[in-house]
């Protein structure tokens, strides 16, 4: 791939040299750039979901699909572009999550099929492959809905075809394709009314544009934060990239770890270099290699690009590696053990839990294993299966605790030769209610029946913030308002949490119930908790009220009314 060079002969600044072919390894790096670029934009894509509940689907699903695809090639040294494309396609198929993930896997599948076993990808093949991607994706549905990722893929393929007479430069084609994708994305609300209603562009389409943009950035070396530079430094597998070793404890406020490899111009003045670094960050280390230096530093978020700019004053930057340490810490601290020992022959329960607080409660109720997941992150069939496959007992009960997870739990049953029963719990209160019937030494059939009966004995309320304006179930929701869901159905939208709780309780059958349990979320403030518990105690003085830490994301409160 061409180096970044400015061409002094041209009046217009040439940012890149033309690119005529891509081999397997370049394709791998380009795909990695797309993966990381998508990871960085995951939340943006998630925020475009049109459902009023913040269920963070599309971006996360597409990212996980890409990640699964990349894991197939991360350690491959295959030089054939066609073979790499096939591995990507295979990985995407295996890991496809959600609607957008499935469509993405079909796009990649078409791309790979056209490449066949060609050693390199050139302009002609690229354009044909984009066309085949589109064709394959459209074959997967009887009535394609326009204004979605399909439309964006179609418009991109068309734009690519139109470049055939103009240039053989892959970067030129990518540029045109990307621009067409952006245009097409902007137009999606005109094709799909629900998008217009919600005031957004299509999330899957956005994800696809981000992926192509990542590839384009790789090809044109616009890769400060991510992409090619990161790709080359990337450890062998993605898992190890995400869980990369922690150097030392993190100082508060020093959220990013930056590593820059560079070639100094002339002799490096170490003293002034250290002096400059100390002004922007901590944990400074400078290593010296064969006429190459490596600088390591921790900096606050707002200064994450400063070290790179600084190094540029001293020499030519070779590679940059940026990592968000706070995110990693979050990952680490999530490793509290919520499991209970399982004995041979007993009934073991696997529960899906969205937050640490709820996991702790499940543990205290005798749940053997916790699989973390919920509205934002649906665990895969395999995640659930892994939780119980090595247990010394063959009697397993699964509590999905979310309607979107029931199916994955059901599917895991087929992977196992154990006796697995799924109690279709759609929310946490139902899950907890079912847990109360657990007797590990009891009769499996009886307990399953009792758990199933328990589901109707509890009403579940959820309080969350609407991520966009929409009208649903006759309730008019404005973005940013607090919405209340009773047993999964939207019942009210109001300006304050207390009002939402009040509406929720009114609509629930609280009169016939005695007990309200409140689980507060990870972002809920003490003032909010006091306000809500105060309200309930005052309005329903005869009811018992219990408050627990739930730790769930997005939902300020989960209420169990029984």
């Amino acid at each position: 791939m061409a180096d970044v060079q400015s061409n002094p002969q041209s009046v217009e600044q040439v940012k890149y040299e033309p690119l005529y072919s891509i081999d397997g390894q370049s394709l791998k790096h380009a795909f990695f750039a797309a993966l990381i670029w998508l990871r960085n934009h995951q939340q943006v894509v998630n925020s475009l979901n049109v459902f009023p509940v913040p269920d963070g689907d599309t971006g996360t699903n597409m990212f996980l699909t890409m990640q699964s695809a990349y894991s197939e090639i991360s350690e491959s040294s295959e030089t054939s572009a066609g073979k790499i494309a096939h591995m990507i396609s295979q990985g995407a198929l295996m890991g496809a999550r959600g609607n957008s993930g499935v469509i993405l896997s079909q796009l990649l599948r078409g791309f790979a099929r056209l490449l066949d076993d060609k050693p390199v990808l050139d302009a002609d093949l690229l354009v044909e492959a984009l066309g085949e991607s589109r064709n394959t994706a459209y074959k997967g549905v009887v009535r394609p809905v326009e204004g979605t990722i399909l439309t964006v893929a179609k418009d991109m393929a068309k734009a690519a075809e139109e470049t055939r007479a103009e240039s053989n430069d892959i970067i030129y084609i990518l540029d045109k394709t990307l621009k067409a994708g952006e245009e097409s994305l902007k137009n999606t609300p005109n094709l799909l009314p629900i998008l217009k209603q919600a005031g957004v562009v299509d999330s899957g389409g956005k994800g696809l544009v981000v992926i192509v943009e990542g590839i384009y950035r790789y090809a044109t070396h616009q890769t400060v934060e991510i992409g090619e530079v990161a790709a080359e430094r990337a450890p062998v597998s993605l898992e190890s990239l995400q869980m990369s070793q922690m150097h030392e404890e993190i100082e508060p406020g020093q959220d990013f770890e930056i590593v820059v490899d560079f070639k100094p111009v002339g002799e490096l003045n170490l003293q002034s270099f250290y002096g400059d670094l100390e002004k922007i960050g901590t944990s400074i280390q400078v290593g010296e290699g064969d006429d190459l230096y490596r600088m390591h530093i921790h900096v606050p978020t707002e200064k994450k690009y400063d070290p790179i700019e600084l190094v540029e004053k001293y020499g030519a930057v070779q590679k940059v590696y940026i990592e968000n340490l706070m995110e990693q810490m979050k990952g680490k601290s999530g490793e509290e053990d919520f499991s209970n020992p399982v004995e041979e022959g007993q009934i073991a329960v696997v529960a899906i839990s969205p937050g640490d607080g709820i996991s702790r409660i499940f543990k205290s109720l005798g749940v053997s294993r916790i699989v973390s997941g919920g509205q934002t992150m649906n665990p895969s069939t395999n995640d659930i299966f892994q939780a119980y496959k090595d247990m010394p007992t063959d009697k397993v009960i699964i509590l999905p605790n979310n309607k979107n997870i029931i199916m994955a739990a059901e599917a895991s049953k087929k992977l196992s030769d154990k006796q697995v029963e799924i109690i279709p719990t759609k929310n946490i209160p139902q899950g907890l209610s079912a847990c109360l019937r657990l007797n590990p030494q009891g009769d499996m059939k009886e307990i399953v029946a009792e758990m199933n009966e328990s589901l109707d004995e509890v009403e579940a309320g959820e309080i969350t913030t609407a991520t966009r304006s929409i009208e649903l179930n006759g309730v008019n929701v404005k973005e940013g308002e607090v919405i209340a869901l009773l047993n999964g159905n939207l019942v009210s939208s109001s300006k304050s949490i207390v009002k939402a709780c009040a509406e929720l309780l009114k609509k629930s059958g609280i009169k016939d119930r005695e007990h309200v349990t409140i689980f507060y979320g990870s972002d809920t403030t003490q003032a909010q908790i006091d306000e809500v518990t105060g309200y309930i105690a005052k309005t329903y003085p005869d009811h018992e009220v219990e408050v627990h830490e739930g730790g769930q994301p997005h939902y300020q409160f989960i209420l169990s009314i029984e």
Binding site: T136, K139, R143
Partner: protein, 118 residues
């Protein structure tokens, strides 16, 4: 027949209306390339209806709806994800248009269609 009491009177929605919504949203779901008749008798009776809705069975019980879908999936897509999406899509559309909560959407994969072999 599902009925909702409104201040002005009664609104009733037939199984067929719900089935049509489910049928249309299933066909718009990615990965679903067709619906299969759930049994022979239905297949024959469908021959005589104007708008055949095969592959959808709606049960209405109290105030909840249960839907069974019998689908054909495109070969080469991840079936677990396709089935989940179609269930979500059908539930979302039925609830949005009818305003009655859907309790269950059971998806039965009746076959695969092979358009391309890799």
């Amino acid at each position: 027949m599902s009925e909702t009491k409104k201040s002005m009177g009664k609104i009733s929605i037939s199984y067929n209306a719900i089935a049509t919504i489910a049928f249309q949203s299933a066909l718009e779901s990615y990965g679903v390339v067709g619906l299969a008749t759930e049994n022979i008798a239905r297949g024959i009776s469908n021959l005589f209806t104007k708008t055949p809705i095969s592959g959808v069975v709606v049960q209405y019980d109290g105030d909840i709806i249960n839907i069974d879908l019998y689908i054909i999936v495109e070969y080469g897509t991840r079936i677990a994800s396709v089935t989940q999406s179609v269930a979500n899509n059908v539930k979302f559309n039925v609830e949005k248009m009818v305003g009655i909560p859907v309790n269950e959407v059971n998806v039965h994969v009746r076959g695969l269609r092979v358009s391309d072999t890799d």
